[in-house]
Subunit: 145 residues, 2 copies
């Protein structure tokens, strides 16, 4: 099963939701074996992803929790471009819209993401969402450097 | 404190000792943030090393145990040059000599290592040790690819 994620820029005042601070850094951005450090509130993990399979459907993933202290030290030696953002989860009808509000170098960038069960599932875009940027690699995590 | 490790090639029949099978692969060999997967008998870990400090004395290191199943999957996506070797630990007087017997691509390569407490500590080289290769980067792990 693949998750269908549609991504949007954000126009207008963002509704209230549950905020989670996130930091993300890459020890390697090589698409054959990306190594990512992530903190999320008071938890942290290291994850490794293999390359996307020839049929585009699957990707090996390893993820393990690590201590916050280790994560903060590891973020210091990550490749340049450690991301700090606040993720706001907003209930919207039957969906949860996740809005990433970037800080630091990307201050001002706000990207919303909604996960659909299949590409044809209807999704009525609220007014505060702007241009759809699904598939525009510029807005994908590992390309924000 | 730095460990002083002297490395030698091996000439003669290797004495008996305690054998440990080891596999090592790199998710990244970038010297600013190497990421290594290692299995050692029935244990496995992931480790990350930062770059060597300007004074050459220290290097940030993170190490965490992972499951053998995860390690074997991660070794499959490591950079080419996963090493398989048997490490034999041999008691020799007051020292323990570690002999790495390589398999696979490096079949035939045997490297012995002895750790000294300081560079001037005397070490009487047994007959079965050959040429000293301390400092010869060709024989260091991350360069065996």
């Amino acid at each position: 099963m693949i998750d269908i994620e549609r991504k949007f820029l954000v126009n207008g005042p963002i509704p209230e939701g549950e905020d989670t601070p996130i930091q993300e850094g890459y020890l390697s951005r090589n698409p054959e074996r990306t190594v990512r450090i992530r903190t999320r509130k008071d938890k942290a993990n290291i994850s490794v992803k293999g390359k996307i399979s020839a049929d585009g459907l699957s990707r090996y993933e390893f993820k393990q929790e690590i201590s916050m202290e280790d994560a903060l030290n590891l973020l210091k030696i990550c490749e340049p471009g450690v991301i700090e953002k606040t993720r706001r989860a907003i209930k919207w009808g039957e969906h949860t819209i996740k809005v990433d509000i970037f800080h630091g170098k990307y201050d001002g960038l706000v990207i919303a993401e909604v996960e659909l069960e299949d590409p044809d599932q209807p999704f009525e875009k609220p007014e505060w969402l702007g241009e759809e940027v699904t598939g525009n690699l510029k807005y994908y995590n590992s390309n924000l450097t």
